[in-house]
Symmetry: C2
Subunit: 292 residues, 2 copies
């Protein structure tokens, strides 16, 4: 498909899974009423961002993964869309992934398991998620080939590049990132700008459009160790030169943009980075550090 | 060294090599009077950007490479600085490189040969330069380990990443990029923003400060095929979160900023991207495209 209408649904947490399913479904309906053919949801959109603390009780959130998959498959069928959902996957007892599942009008088009897992105060993901073992594989759908990555992946140019080299038409990041109120204003701005800048750069480096869908709103740290995270929203959709097509603020918003896939070829033809990579000198990228 | 004062000298072409050597030396003097310990010059700063057309006469510009090296070595000694020069290197008759040479108070600290070579209308570099065969090797100096890359390299996250993985303290890009007056204003803005964004992203992804030194001013296409290039200046120095420390406009300017190398560790410790790379899944990066 040459041109599609894509939506990113930026939401705050509503207090329960039931409330989230209901509110999210309603927003998907609104997006499709505005013509969206592809809808991207934020990271772990069925629940609060529970990784603020390490508590085994939260593993319960993953136990209905198969039911969750069926639920979102059904939503994608009902609204006749391609849907990128971000779900907590119980693969086996005691083995969990932070997974994105892509649905195509009722069918499962593919699954991505978050490859790069963060772990820092307030984001204790290494406790919950085994790093993905499916690699970086784009997912084919009726509206294009989706390079779906998740949150922390967005800081790694390697992930975006591999998706592009494997034929992705677009890069997609469900994400959950925000500020601590205790941080200074200038530090907050540096963090937000860095987050936007590096993702736009993935679009630029690879000549691909990109959708980043983040949470918004404040979520308390239930463990009381930290105060909580103020998710900074700022979801955006940009074109293959990194140019903003649409950009959210810090509140709830349904972002919608028309994405013209033919622009990628046009941009790559005038900026032929793909032509000139010096792959014979890139071995070092396959090492953690090159100090030997 | 923990903190250094660095300068990027953004200049327009003055009509002859002689005039360029004189003007550049004068500006280096000014920079050092303001305390600069590291000075970065723009790409191919001894001449006009001759790659606007393909003409064998321009190979003459490379014939005095050894003398040029001696000249800039001497300048670096005179002003007691680390100097990044960008020179047209004749390696053998008929074999040329676009090389950056780093001088450390009179001595040659190291050389980088531009690895990624562009070729598009107005930038016919594949005619002039053999792609570098030295790989991506940071250069050790008395003020730090420099990850020197050149212009087109700036579009490749791989190049910056490898420099970081090999221990660079800073990324440095002498460059020559500009607009064609025939382009529309919105396209010009997209190009400039993309160029700034992707370089800031290299700083962010690798937790390193970065210096980008570009030309400014208009240079006519002597072949008459195109009108010429309006080099867009906008040189900048940013910190390891991609935050601007100083940024030029489109006119001549000596940019000076204090760079605190200790910030890199601080930033990497809170944003530990280095910790989490999934190198066992990065093989695809060593291929031109992953379609098999």
């Amino acid at each position: 498909m040459q041109t599609i209408k894509a939506a990113a649904i930026q939401m705050s947490y509503k207090g329960s899974k039931e409330a989230m399913l209901k509110a999210t479904s309603q927003k998907i309906k609104e997006a499709t009423q505005k013509g969206a053919q592809l809808v991207v949801l934020q990271e772990l959109h069925q629940s609060e961002y529970f990784c603020q603390s390490e508590d085994t009780k939260f593993f319960d959130y993953a136990k209905d993964f198969q039911k969750d998959v069926a639920f979102w498959a059904n939503i994608s069928k009902e609204f006749d869309i391609v849907l990128v959902a971000s779900l907590f996957e119980q693969r086996a007892p005691g083995l969990y992934h932070n997974s994105a599942v892509v649905f195509d009008k009722g069918k499962i088009a593919g699954k991505y398991r978050k490859m790069h897992i963060p772990d820092d105060p307030g984001f204790y993901e290494k406790f919950y998620f085994t790093p993905g073992d499916l690699g970086f594989e784009p997912i084919s759908t009726s509206i294009g080939v989706l390079g779906v990555l998740v949150c922390w992946d967005q800081w790694f140019p390697e992930a975006a590049r591999i998706m592009a080299l494997k034929g992705a038409d677009i890069l997609i990041y469900p994400t959950a990132i925000g500020w601590f109120d205790s941080d200074k204003e200038d530090e907050k701005q540096r963090q937000l700008e860095a987050w936007i800048t590096i993702q736009r750069a993935h679009a630029i480096a690879n000549g691909l459009p990109l959708i980043s869908c983040n949470r918004c709103g404040f979520e308390k740290d239930s463990s009381g160790v930290l105060e909580g995270i103020r998710f900074w929203g700022n979801s955006f959709i940009c074109g293959p030169q990194g140019e903003f097509l649409v950009r959210a603020g810090v509140e709830e918003e349904i972002l919608i943009a028309e994405i013209d896939f033919s622009k990628s070829k046009a941009v790559r033809d005038i900026w032929p980075f793909m032509r000139d990579r010096r792959v014979e000198y890139y071995h070092c990228l396959n090492k953690i550090f090159c100090d030997d």
